[in-house]
Symmetry: C3
Subunit: 345 residues, 3 copies
């Protein structure tokens, strides 16, 4: 049997002759794929191999493991997203799904996604979808449960496997860092920064052609420490998740202080935005202004963005059902991606 590089999650299945476990083979870029450019960082922009700036606009799918269980895992899902105008898809890998499916099987799902995205010419963010304090290993919920060791080894596996695949442009190291007012213990930005730099070093030792993405505390909202103490590695981008509930109207001045100023110096990607009417989570509540105002703000700042979430169950939904009927936010962001939104002058 072929097993993964190291995490060892399949060891129990290969008791007979562990000395024959093969390493995971690198992902093969099929010659038939549309030619894609590797993405890198230049100043405060993401650029292609010719140095042309690309602003990414796209959606986050739900976890591939969920889509398989929903019976919706297939190229069609990606084709629909492409037809909505997206140039990027974020894939959230929940640690619990990684554990349950096993490294080898989970990587097969990611390989399929990367095949489909490569055929469609759409870029991919691999997102290690945990929430909480990785430093003390206090994570929000069973589904986010992981360790520093596992996270190091996850990125080592991903970076080694996809190093020749230009479609896999971004590695979002840790979805939403947060201490939750101490409920998840404590750490400092200096310690967190050190941990992110350790992981970036593991990535770069395998692959210098992908762009690591780093988030701040407050569930990936607060980038203020970057002003004084940025991540000491080249070629990275910063992440922000500016949901409606983070700040009251007018939001723009606060956005500027909280994360927007970073975009003047480094590339920034809002890897989660979204809104909905009703629902239990006040953080997501639409007030009618959020969508247009954040689109205008990002447009002005050159910030890339990804909507959460292209799923009919997880909130805030972009689709109502598996006929891909858009919700309100689905329709709104589809219009923007398709060039139908009028930005302010």
């Amino acid at each position: 049997p072929v097993a993964s590089a190291q995490p060892g999650l399949q060891s129990n299945e290969v008791k007979r002759e562990w000395w024959h476990i093969e390493r995971l083979k690198p992902f093969k870029v099929d010659p038939s794929y549309k030619k894609m450019s590797f993405i890198s960082v230049k100043g405060n922009a993401f650029v292609d191999e010719k140095g042309k700036t690309i602003v990414f606009k796209g959606v986050s799918i739900s976890d591939p493991d969920k889509l398989v269980k929903d019976g919706q895992w297939g190229k069609k899902h990606f084709e629909v997203i492409k037809s909505w105008g997206a140039n990027i898809i974020r894939i959230p890998v929940h640690p619990i799904a990684w554990h349950q499916r096993g490294v080898e099987e989970y990587m097969r799902l990611l390989d399929q996604a990367v095949d489909w995205c490569s055929e469609l010419g759409i870029y991919v963010i691999i997102d290690w979808h945990s929430i909480g304090n990785l430093d003390m290993e206090i994570l929000a919920h069973d589904m986010h449960n992981t360790t520093k060791k596992e996270t190091f080894n996850f990125w080592r596996t991903i970076a080694a496997h996809y190093k020749e695949a230009p479609a896999v442009a971004f590695y979002e190291i840790f979805n939403e860092p947060t201490l939750y007012d101490g409920q998840y213990g404590n750490t400092t930005w200096a310690e967190w920064k050190g941990l992110m730099e350790q992981i970036i070093d593991v990535i770069y030792a395998q692959n210098k052609k992908a762009v690591p993405l780093v988030a701040g505390f407050n569930w990936a909202y607060d980038l203020t420490p970057v002003r004084q103490n940025p991540i000491a590695r080249e070629g990275i981008g910063y992440v922000v998740h500016p949901y409606p509930g983070k700040r009251p109207i007018p939001r723009e001045p606060k956005w500027e202080q909280d994360f927007g100023f970073v975009a003047d110096k480094y590339p920034v990607m809002a890897t989660e935005i979204g809104f909905m009417k009703g629902g239990e989570d006040e953080n997501l509540h639409d007030d009618g202004k959020y969508g247009p105002s954040i689109m205008n703000y990002f447009h002005k700042k050159g910030i890339s963005w990804v909507v959460w979430v292209f799923d009919p169950v997880w909130v805030p939904q972009m689709i109502k059902n598996w006929e891909y009927e858009p919700t309100d936010q689905g329709k709104f962001f589809r219009d923007v991606m398709q060039g139908k939104f009028k930005y302010d002058k």
Copy 2:
């Protein structure tokens, strides 16, 4: 299925739809319960909500998981203890039982205990019953095997779940810290103190109304470092386990140097005391003087105490059988709890 906040131990049972795992609901204080006061720290005393000092006297039961396997888990067990005069019951949660039963099921046992104790008006200590060096994660025996990560998450779970329950007054962070002359590796009091403070912070972020209890090295005997370097958090108590074998007669001057001096400034609870005739463990051997002398010493110092152990098999036993016939130490401490012991003038 309903699963716990995070430790992830049930992940394998909920493979189908991990995104539907619910968080553990907070413990509900039933309105029919006897009204109990929250306990807090004032100076060197444990006090109720009116500021009245309470000296706790009680017993440690065996692990709830053992009592279930023994067929003895039920309200009667707690009623007998109440009838013996105890105002507190210590519940030792062995990591191995927590692992084997799973977080959700184990919490159901604790909920039952807290229900019964609330009905009976008796206080509870939740005791994370490990032994050894948590800093290096070298623990005494399979049954004590845990990690820093798990310990952080255990206390986060307990503190969130029982924050409204006045009966659950005390959280004994780590039963018996010991380096065993280096057999369990090394750490310093400064490092241990830092680790305890991290855990207290996780507890207090959820619940400021419980009293964390902190022990010293030498199997929770040595509190001498507290003189120079106390735990830098308010509202806590210190723990000592002064078994007979720790010091030869006359013990009082040594007790005073080793832990008693702490009781002049902070509340102290001897969460394990006990003795027996014979047996393999010299640390427990009765010399006929231990019981009266430690009762007089604690009485003089205002130190609370809990006897190990209300079980007919674990040593030193307080009961001979499931008819609750007392052993020598059972009878002795029952007399004290029932006010039949004459303290020295």
Copy 3:
């Protein structure tokens, strides 16, 4: 059921009454065994109890778990090695085999090996056969996957169990430390040294009569940091794995700089050497000079050595088949061990 001291790997098998799990009993030295001397360190030599220097020459077997699965586990295997002239056998314990077989069962295999070696008067190295960066817990492959916690507890278990067995003379703490140009993350010699000293302290707390062996980075090749910053513990030896591919001819001057200088001050054991014609691993390729030159170099420096590996499948092989027909390197090193090799004057 009898379970091990702590690692807890059998917990699931002993759910019924975990409070009856017994600790592993110490290994019993049978009075019928050949009387062997404990080995210790004196200056830069390994010496017996009379202070006589012993230079060790022997072979590494494959993992006992593999030999069991091959149907070749038995005293005969050790007798053949003895007949080839070896005075030491290295036993590589792969973490994956330790996990799969369970501590208790694996220790039974080690006990058998120690029984046979004791009967034959041959010394043993217990080798924790991991590869990579233990500090960040990024290991090379599934078979090497472990943690700091497990490694501490492994050595605690081994040191407690074999403390009365003179045959188990050497504890090779961690087979091949390497950062692989950052693929396994980063650590410094100072940090690695601290980690090794922590482990040596755990060992010495149980057993001061065994000799811990410490390797350097670059897959146990680079001992240059020992010049400025040696391990701050008495009674240890240093390890080197100088395979042919590490350095081009003439190798001696480089060997001297890379590890040989250490042998002037501390005892050194090359716990892996070996060569083969062909094969996929260039590091092992024979150029016809390696064998004689390294034998002469070690002879001059008093360096002990162990050949990798007495197995017909793992490379480089010493035997062609289970009739124990020697390969080229098998024949070469057998000749040396049997005194048939002529050292340079």
